[in-house]
Symmetry: C2
Subunit: 254 residues, 2 copies
Amino acid sequence: MRAWNEIAIVRYEGGAPSLAQDVVIAECPFEIRLDGQPYASVMAMPEKLDDLAIGLLYGEGAIETAADVASVAIDEARGQIAVTRVHSRAVSPEDRVRTTGFGLGSTPKRQLDAAPLPVEGRDPLQASDIVALMDEFNARSQLFRDTGAVHSCCLCAGETRLFADDVGRHNALDKVIGASLRLAFDRAAAALLTTGRVSTEILIKTAKAGIPTLISRSAPTDRAVALARSSGMTLVGFARGQRFNVYAGEERIR
Amino acid sequence: MRAWNEIAIVRYEGGAPSLAQDVVIAECPFEIRLDGQPYASVMAMPEKLDDLAIGLLYGEGAIETAADVASVAIDEARGQIAVTRVHSRAVSPEDRVRTTGFGLGSTPKRQLDAAPLPVEGRDPLQASDIVALMDEFNARSQLFRDTGAVHSCCLCAGETRLFADDVGRHNALDKVIGASLRLAFDRAAAALLTTGRVSTEILIKTAKAGIPTLISRSAPTDRAVALARSSGMTLVGFARGQRFNVYAGEERIR
């Protein structure tokens, strides 16, 4: 399955039409199954689907570590991602996520109302590092600029980078968190970079994964800022070129 | 309840910090209740909440016209939007939408798999009108540019404009569709303008509302393009300044 397709379109410029080729992102429906039962429906770019499923299940609390996962089987033709747990158990209808995945989350209201755990960064952050990380991130999120339909996330710690694209902000985040579980990545020393807006759900997912630093090209909401401040996280927005805004945790930045 | 807040932040430019004020969008959790029972949890910008609830329930098929709605009561303090139908009936747990609303949809998989109805436009579209409508739309979606966290939609027919902003693409669309139901607006003669990406769900919601023309500042996905082509809709993307791309229905454009 390809992550994008080229299609023929008509391009207008100054009132004049011309034929052109355009790259559009592939968006496919997948059913995530857990222990043999339907769990969630997601619309996603068909890439890193195992990480997507693991990250989503982790965010929902259905698994705690990668060691809880016995197997992940992807059936692209049927549009299924089947995850089995080491200690499999019945999934109640109440636990199921009805639809999720296109730029969207599934966080239940009880989680949205709760304050996230304290997730304070251990080390100071250099302002010059924020600029350099975003430069590198922008160079890599080429697909985003080419098609305009993709969000990207990158989890950075030391020299390690976990990168993912998707049609949805939430999917891209689930993918990098899923990869970090699989690779036993040190999230407590990491910064998460995202092209997307920082909503409450994005903030909570990041905090829940124990990532103390969140840097976005885009804007946070008021509630995401309040949650970041109360949890001790560092939240940076509008990180573009030499500029960025610090919404929370400014005392960590040198 | 205010739709946005001003907060104190630290702004870095070329490595130097300074104190600044920044406008951030308000994002609030609401429970949509239907006939006295919980129906959906949404994160939304607290504005046009009645239209949001009506539009969301219409998109889900819980109501067919505004005449099905007996009352809408908004309790901001408790975060509830209570809708009662003229012919109220029990809401089964299967019908409930667990969480929705921040840049996200709730369309069940069975709807995502189904092709939308034919929604062909009656009249030709002038290329100059597409440019002029988007110019006007961009001027109006100021909040989007100021804060970077808002998506806007505008439903246009003749001289009438229904405009809405929200933290989520889907919410903004639900709001203008909700308003169009309330006002008996002629959607079959309308164009929908959006700042957001056109996913399958956005395309299906627009088609289901009988709107034949969808124009976005941003990109569509491959599946949204395919659905627009099969349903006879006109789909325009990357509409910026004098330029736009026609992904479907180019024969209607003069």
